[in-house]
């Protein structure tokens, strides 16, 4: 009897303190899973070298991160969100509506998207974006008509390609990697096609017709877990997988990057732009939280330091493709002075 009384009163006390114990000591980061490993590295470094509590780094995906970040000002909303694409106009508006008026945008570098095969693969893969589009799109030109994708074998697309079944494992639509792949590889591949070039179609047409991945088998949505895709590739050496380059870089003993138009993905080719499929990585800073959350300034200083961002820095070692020196200086300046971003155009 008394035990029950004690427990119920204990719960009551705990429940009351729950709302009181909200004063946040640590930095909170949400957002893209692609930027996650970099923020993770900075956070661990920061926790090890300063007296401040460890930042909380959560991977929610770019869109999910924006929802939390733009939710408002205050302890329950994140201070930083990572994004594997620039903030959309609608997201900026949501931020404004919720009182998050001053945001600083920081591009920390870029990340390549890479098709990869198992190192056991018997073929030497070299694809053009057009071929990738023909292999993976839901609808492609067939004999001058825009029709459902008939290709089941790589050699049907081009005789020079290996005579194996098309089998590509990729991320689901909720993933930022998928968004980026559609935009950077599929749209660009679509625009390379003769049918599209001769037809005089504009960008809107491309976006409308070239964005759908095929669902009849050759393209397989394999979930967000890249390690699972690696295991599938190892058991099936003729299959291809779609990854962020930083992941391929960590697994170079099991994965080989597929050349695109003759260029092998590497830190160098992605950095100088010669590898065509790469995207910028951002993080967004809520300026209203600066000076309020303890250690926020120091965290940003660590993030912006040459140790982190420069070539050979610890983010570069994790696979981040770095910015040029002027752009790093300009970025550091902008973050230090908390220059707010302008409303995005689209």
């Amino acid at each position: 009897m008394s035990v029950t009384k004690i427990t119920t009163s204990a719960i009551a006390i705990v429940a009351l303190t729950a709302t009181a114990a909200a004063a946040r000591e640590e930095i909170r980061r949400v957002g893209s899973s692609t930027v996650f490993p970099y923020t993770q590295a900075v956070a661990e470094r920061f926790a090890n070298t300063t007296e401040f509590p460890s930042p909380i780094v959560e991977s929610t995906g770019t869109g999910g991160g924006m929802q939390i970040f733009c939710g408002g000002i205050g302890e329950s909303f994140a201070d930083i969100t990572g994004a594997s694409r620039a903030m959309k106009a609608s997201e900026y508006q949501m931020c404004q509506d919720n009182g998050v008026t001053s945001i600083t945008e920081a591009q920390i570098g870029s990340d390549g998207l890479s098709l990869a095969v198992s190192v056991e693969s018997p073929h030497d893969w070299d694809l053009t974006l057009g071929q990738i589009f023909l292999a993976l799109a839901a609808e492609v030109p067939v004999d001058g008509e825009w029709a459902a994708n008939p290709y089941t074998n790589w050699s049907e697309i081009d005789a020079s390609l290996p005579d194996v079944e098309i089998e590509v494992l990729g991320p689901p639509p909720t993933s930022g990697t998928r968004d980026a792949f559609v935009e950077l590889a599929m749209h660009a591949g679509c625009e390379e096609l003769e049918y599209v070039q001769n037809g005089g179609f504009d960008g809107d047409w491309v976006e409308e017709n070239c964005s759908r991945m095929r669902t009849d088998g050759p393209f397989i949505e394999a979930g967000e877990n890249d390690n699972l895709i690696v295991q599938r590739l190892q058991s099936d050496p003729t299959a291809l997988g779609i990854f962020g380059y930083s992941f391929v870089y960590e697994n170079l003993d099991t994965l080989a990057g597929v050349k695109i138009a003759g260029t092998t993905p590497s830190l160098e080719t992605i950095g100088d732009g010669s590898y065509p499929v790469s995207r910028p990585l951002f993080f967004y800073i809520k300026n209203a939280h600066r000076g309020v959350i303890p250690g926020f300034e120091e965290f940003l200083t660590e993030y912006m330091s040459e140790d982190a961002l420069a070539p050979g820095g610890y983010l570069n070692e994790r696979g981040l493709v770095t910015l040029s020196e002027e752009r790093r200086d300009e970025l550091r300046e902008r973050v230090a002075n908390s220059v707010p971003m302008e409303a995005p155009a689209d």
């Binding site: 959560e58 697994n251 050979g312």
Partner: protein, 434 residues
Amino acid sequence: MTDLTTDNAGPGPRNLTTEAVKNSLGRRNRKQLYLQGLGIAAITFALTMLFILIWSLVSTGHHAFTQTHVTLDVYVDPEEISEENLPRGGFSEVLLASMAQQFPDIDVSDRAEARKLSSILSDGAQFQLRDRVVSDPSLIGQTVSLTVPLSDPYDQLNKNLVRRDTPENRRRVDDAAIARFDQLADRGMISTPLNFTLLTAADSRFPELAGLRGALVGSFWALLTCFLISFPLGIGAAVYLEEFAPKSRVSDFIEININNLAAVPSVVFGLLALAVFIGWFGMPRSAPFVGGLTLALMTMPTIIIATRAALKAVPPSIREAALGVGASKHQVVFQHVLPLAMPGILTGTIIGLAQALGETAPLLLIGMNAFITSAPSGPFDSATALPTQIFIWADSPERGFVSRTSAAILVLLGFLIFMNAIAIFLRSKFERKW
């Protein structure tokens, strides 16, 4: 059988029946044998699957229970590290210098060459040295013997997870690196002790430094919250429904709903918690307290059902006897029925909590899958839990996390077995037979 039929039926049908029984005997025995065979096959199948699961976990996970270390003599150079500047100082430079002593042929003034040496040691080595010097500043100017973890690629090499016979371009460690490692090994500097870091450290992005402490403490707070809420509420609800509530449509309706609630997918509770606890009440994200509240919602139906079954099992004679000597209804329940039902209730509670311990989906939704490099100090600090930590590690690109994921699963399974063993113990020790 034949005697029975003799009494009941005439001579004609009797013969027929015995004939029929005799004729079908072989067929029926065969059927029974089939059934037994199928049963044994099913059990064998289940055991094989269990064995494969455990074997695959142990065969990948056992690598994580040891960690390759190197023992170095480090001269704590007063030019790099001074007492006034602590805890800051050139600890990585000091470590690099002592590595350079081992490999005089490498020119450490070249940055790329120096990286080759410093990458042998774990990134955490400099912080280990720092903590040691901070706790005893008199070490400055002396030479200390330091045992620090090797970085993940070399650890993998030592455990033969990086095979030396694969071509060089397919390995994370090149031939020169292997040669350096062998040199250290030849000098007896390499050791592979038990990996206590796995239990004592919080998360890290370096596999050799990552541990489960944050997850274990987070799971502890979440389960404690879950227990403190679901146990009294669950028992209260069950006692009322079983002992006091009048049998009516309303109580039937409640009963059906409780049974249904036990079958609701856990992710639904996660969404509910996200909307209500975090959205409305403004509770902190990623906090074990919120995780515990969510798990309590899931555990409560299990406890209610188990408690009601335990209460039902107490024979009515005990209630009647107590009532007979003049006890009030409430005295009967709290002084007689509830203590007798307690072993059953506790068993149900522990099994419910064990389920809650392994639950992942609702915790992912309330943000308990964050990367945090320190363990929480209370139920309101952000933390992960065991299953979400497994989720994070399974998703990490570094190779060392493959074995650590399996090891973490083994730790989780260990806790589950432990909790179920307590439940079995309580049942066999305190259960009464009437």
